[in-house]
């Protein structure tokens, strides 16, 4: 990781597109994504403390809470946000199972589910639950989300 003490240009690869932003040294990835220059507001601030997962994005295919990652840390890494999902099976599954109500936590759960569906252990229900436990939904019963993720993972078998 490059070190800097003043705002500097940082090169990111977001949704397969090279983007350059000016970031403060202490700026979180969540803040950068949602800022005026990128405007990727799909990732949501829910606690900015790593507890709720509404800000989950993928860094090199692995879900991370973007409120706990510094923009400087992910320079030259591949970042995928919900805006980068293009008719991914998980999106259709969420629609089919009505796996959301207010929709605020949805981006985070979608990114988790999408990453899971690409993961080697996707068939393991315990693994799926373990991953999905990192995020909070206050509207649904979780069953809808679990069903959507399970369907997506098993349809890829």
């Amino acid at each position: 990781m490059r070190e800097f003490t003043q705002p500097e240009q940082v090169s990111l690869t977001i949704n397969n597109e090279p983007r350059t932003v000016v970031a403060y040294p202490g700026e979180t990835l969540l803040y950068t994504l949602r800022g005026d220059s990128l405007g990727l507001t799909g990732a949501k601030p829910g606690c900015e403390n790593g507890d709720c997962g509404a800000c989950t994005v993928l860094v090199d295919g692995v879900p991370v809470k973007s409120c706990l990652v510094l923009t400087a840390e992910v320079e030259d890494h591949h970042i995928t946000t919900v805006e980068g999902l293009r008719e991914a099976p998980i999106q259709k599954a969420f629609l089919d199972h009505m796996a959301f109500q207010c929709g605020y936590c949805t981006s985070g759960f979608l990114m988790l589910g999408h990453a899971l569906s690409q993961h080697v252990d996707r068939a393991d229900e315990g693994r799926r639950t373990e991953w999905l436990r990192s995020n909070i939904c206050r509207c649904t019963s979780y069953q809808e989300i679990a069903d959507a993720v399970t369907e997506t993972c098993s349809s890829l078998e």
Binding site: K44, P45, F94, L95, Q101, G103, R138, Y142
Partner: protein, 774 residues
């Protein structure tokens, strides 16, 4: 009917799975200033001074406001809450100052440099503390505050902010005559709404005097009215926009950050200022759901008929009143639960404490009230040696019964509880409540509880709908109810599509609410939106159809009585080959020669709630809502007698929905409600230390349900007894699935652990403690 009763997806669903759904904090004007609150780190103290000198030096800081700069008091019932603490602080986390800066980082840095100096006061840290004769007063001026919305009866020189009473029949006589009596004491902590979107408000004061507010709110029209009142503006000057709301659960029905945003904007010459809660603010500083202590006494005849109910409810409302008096009256009005009880005496007290203040929480007091009543019901069943399901069925309230406030019940305004109970026996496979051993030290047990609820809404609540037609014959629908998750907008669109006999995708509904554009809607609360909006939409649709018919009649040279409509056409009833398309009428009809008549067709619809009244202060008699939704909930749990751990196997709800407008959305609403209620019952609660400090203002400490902790199986069934004055017979169902599920869990575990579990949350540790104490 081809749209009502079908599981159409939410209108905004595609946006919600692509990150394109926009909430208040996703729409920002470049250059917006940020405001940050400075919380008090004392629960009860006199403010000696607030030092802002260091904070002012932070580059980018534009203004710092303290309580001394603000002269207003807020409150939708009793005006007792300064927007920023003034003279004293009354709860840990209460804002003492507001910093406005160019950016969030500067505002936060400056806020951290502001130091309050306090003279500590004794902390009123519980209902018992507050009711002690020598208790320090949370509000020295209790009883002298301006009352914005009567009734409210504060008791001077005490911590009782309000009292509501209901009496029916002769309680004392019936109590003496009762064969079997039970008394139960209930104690429930305050809880949080924990909507995933933290509360947020933005304000801008334009040069022409208009005030623009953007907020995550359930009550944009209330924000408009209260800001106008507090700041002596005309309501018309204030334009409130509410985009999609990321969960609300009653927590966004009050007005808090909007006032601070306005003050902040005013301090920086009307610039756009944003104030957004951190999660910590959202828990400790913004209002919670109330805590409750209750003493319930039920008396019954030998055969199990309840004769007498004597009840005291003490609400831990925290430091300010907010909507507590209205919640107190809601509890009083429904205090018996869904049972016919001839003799009732109930007192409900709103008690000030040095805890975070409280507001509506999904169910408007009915969830803690139901917990108390339903625990007493199970104790009564045990005393009578009766099946708890049988006891509920025997006493279930029915048409022609009267409620505790003497409102008369009909087949339309009351759901069918006996039928729901019958269905529940099947759905959960009711075993009579027996404790069944399944393995060494492990037992399986079921628990049941029932609920009822009405809206407890003001007698003058209004709603409206506006329809405009597009050139292609499709329609735009505008309503004043916000979308916070339950599919309110989609349901309204379904009702309109059904009435106009057009496909749902021909109805475009405004996702946002804007008070300057959309018709007034009281608040998106009380599960009432489908009822109120639905009626307004039908009214507007009828208005539009009348206009379509009138214009078509003129063009087709016939009477409107000869016409019918369907398939986006107005046609002659006995010869459908003579017709006009909606699109040819939508913006007026153009004859072949080019001359035209009509103009754009617009449907106007309104609805006002009728025949409600405020409860009489002495007897409590009155009519608190248009109809009572009823239902029954049950759980099946496996309990480990050695470790006191338990697993949720099944959770079930049977509810009388009147008519299910959208089965998938309705089931989701009920499953989510059960999950929330079970979360509350099994792990949630606000903890204060002995100094009144708020201990768990993060999600790693305030635990909500997570994936894998939900029951293995959720079961939902609706029965349909129409509410005839509601669109297509639909009854309110939004809040209800939280109401009794926690009580059902406590009833199951009390039997499994052989000890009365009358406090929440129920954890293995609390079960162990209760067993050790008995």
């Amino acid at each position: 009917m081809n749209i009502i009763g079908t599981s159409v997806p939410r209108k905004e669903a595609p946006n919600k799975v692509t990150g394109r759904a926009r909430y208040t904090n996703d729409i920002n004007v470049p250059g917006t200033f940020h405001a940050v609150m400075v919380p008090a780190h004392q629960a009860h103290a006199q403010i000696v001074s607030i030092d802002v000198d260091e904070a002012k030096k932070v580059p980018g800081v534009k203004a710092i406001i303290t309580g001394d700069d603000v002269s207003i008091l807020c409150g939708d019932v009793t005006e007792d809450r300064p927007p920023l603490a003034k003279d004293k602080v009354r709860y840990w986390g209460e804002p003492i100052a507001l910093v406005v800066a160019r950016n969030e980082a500067a505002a936060r840095r400056a806020a951290s440099l502001i130091k309050g100096r306090y003279k500590s006061l004794p902390v009123v840290n519980s209902i018992a503390d507050a009711l002690d004769k020598k208790a320090p007063l949370v509000h020295e001026k209790n009883g002298s505050y301006t009352v914005a919305t009567p009734p409210v009866t504060p008791k001077k020189s005490s911590n009782i902010a309000d009292e509501a009473n209901v009496t029916k029949g002769d309680m004392d006589k019936a109590w003496k005559a009762s064969d079997v009596k039970v008394k139960v004491h209930i104690s429930l902590p305050q809880i949080d709404h924990a909507a995933m979107e933290p509360r947020i408000a933005k304000a801008e004061i334009l040069a022409d005097g208009r005030v623009l507010i953007h907020a995550s709110t359930q009550a944009p029209f209330e924000v408009q009215k209260l800001l106008a009142k507090y700041f002596k503006l005309n309501p018309g000057q204030i334009n409130v926009t509410a985009p999609l709301v990321g969960g609300a659960f009653g927590g966004k029905a009050g007005v808090q950050l909007e006032v601070l945003a306005y003050l902040a904007s005013k301090a920086v010459d009307g610039q756009m200022v944003k104030i957004v809660n951190t999660r910590e603010d959202d828990l400790a500083t913004s209002p919670l759901g109330m805590g409750l202590e209750a003493d319930i006494a039920l008396g019954a005849s030998k055969d199990g008929r309840i004769q007498a109910a004597d009840m005291r409810f003490f609400m831990d409302i925290g430091a300010y009143t907010d909507s507590a008096p209205r919640i107190a009256r809601a509890i009083a009005a429904q205090c018996t639960g869904p049972y016919a009880v001839a003799n009732v005496h109930t007192d409900v007290y709103c008690v000030y404490t040095n805890h975070t203040y409280t507001t509506a929480w999904r169910g408007f007091g009915h969830m803690p009230m139901t917990f108390a009543v339903e625990r007493a019901m199970d104790e009564l069943a045990e005393a009578l040696k009766m099946d708890p399901m049988d006891l509920r069925e025997l006493n279930a309230i029915r048409p022609d019964d009267i409620t505790p406030t003497k409102a008369r019940l009909t087949r339309s305004n009351l759901g069918d509880l006996p039928k729901a109970l019958t269905h529940m026996r099947q759905l959960i496979g009711w075993n009579g409540g027996r404790v069944e051993a399944v393995a060494e030290g492990k037992v399986r047990v079921q628990g049941v509880a029932a609920f009822w609820k009405t809206s407890s809404s003001p007698p003058n609540a209004v709603s409206g709908a506006l329809i405009t037609m597009n050139s292609d014959g499709s329609v735009n629908l505008s309503i004043g109810a916000v979308e916070c998750g339950p599919g309110t907008k989609t349901t309204a669109a379904q009702i309109l599509a059904e009435k106009l006999r057009i496909p749902l995708d021909r109805v475009f509904i405004h996702e946002d609410v804007n008070t300057q554009v959309d018709p007034e809607h009281w608040k998106t609360v009380a599960s009432l939106s489908t009822y109120m909006v639905g009626r307004a939409v039908l009214d507007a649709a009828n208005d539009l159809i009348t206009q379509l018919m009138a214009l078509a009649a003129a063009v087709l040279k016939c009477s409107p009585d000869d016409l019918d409509y369907g398939d986006e056409k107005i046609f002659v009833r006995d010869d459908p080959s003579i017709y006009l398309d909606f699109k040819d009428l939508a913006l007026g009809y153009k004859y072949k020669e080019g001359d035209s008549i009509g103009g754009q067709l617009m449907g106007r619809g309104k609805f006002m709630i009728r025949h409600l009244n405020l409860l009489d202060q002495h007897t409590g008699h009155g009519r608190p809502g248009p109809a009572w939704t009823v239902g029954v909930q049950a759980v099946e749990v496996e309990y480990d007698q050695n470790t006191h751990q338990y697993r949720l196997l099944k959770a079930a709800t049977v509810m009388d929905a009147g008519k299910v407008l959208n089965p998938a959305i309705a089931s989701g609403q009920v499953m989510g409600g059960m999950n929330m209620g079970l979360g509350v019952a099994s792990r949630e609660g606000i903890f204060y230390d002995t100094e009144g400090r708020f201990l768990n203002h993060q999600f790693r400490l305030y635990k909500v349900m997570r994936m894998g902790e939900q029951p293995k199986q959720y079961l939902v069934e609706f029965i349909e007894t129409p509410q005839v004055d509601s669109a297509y017979g639909a009854r309110p169902i939004g809040e209800h699935a939280v109401l009794a599920i926690g009580a059902a869990l406590a009833n199951a575990l009390s039997r499994a652990a052989n000890v009365s579990l009358n406090t929440l949350p129920i954890t293995p540790e609390t079960i162990w403690r209760e067993r050790r104490a008995h």
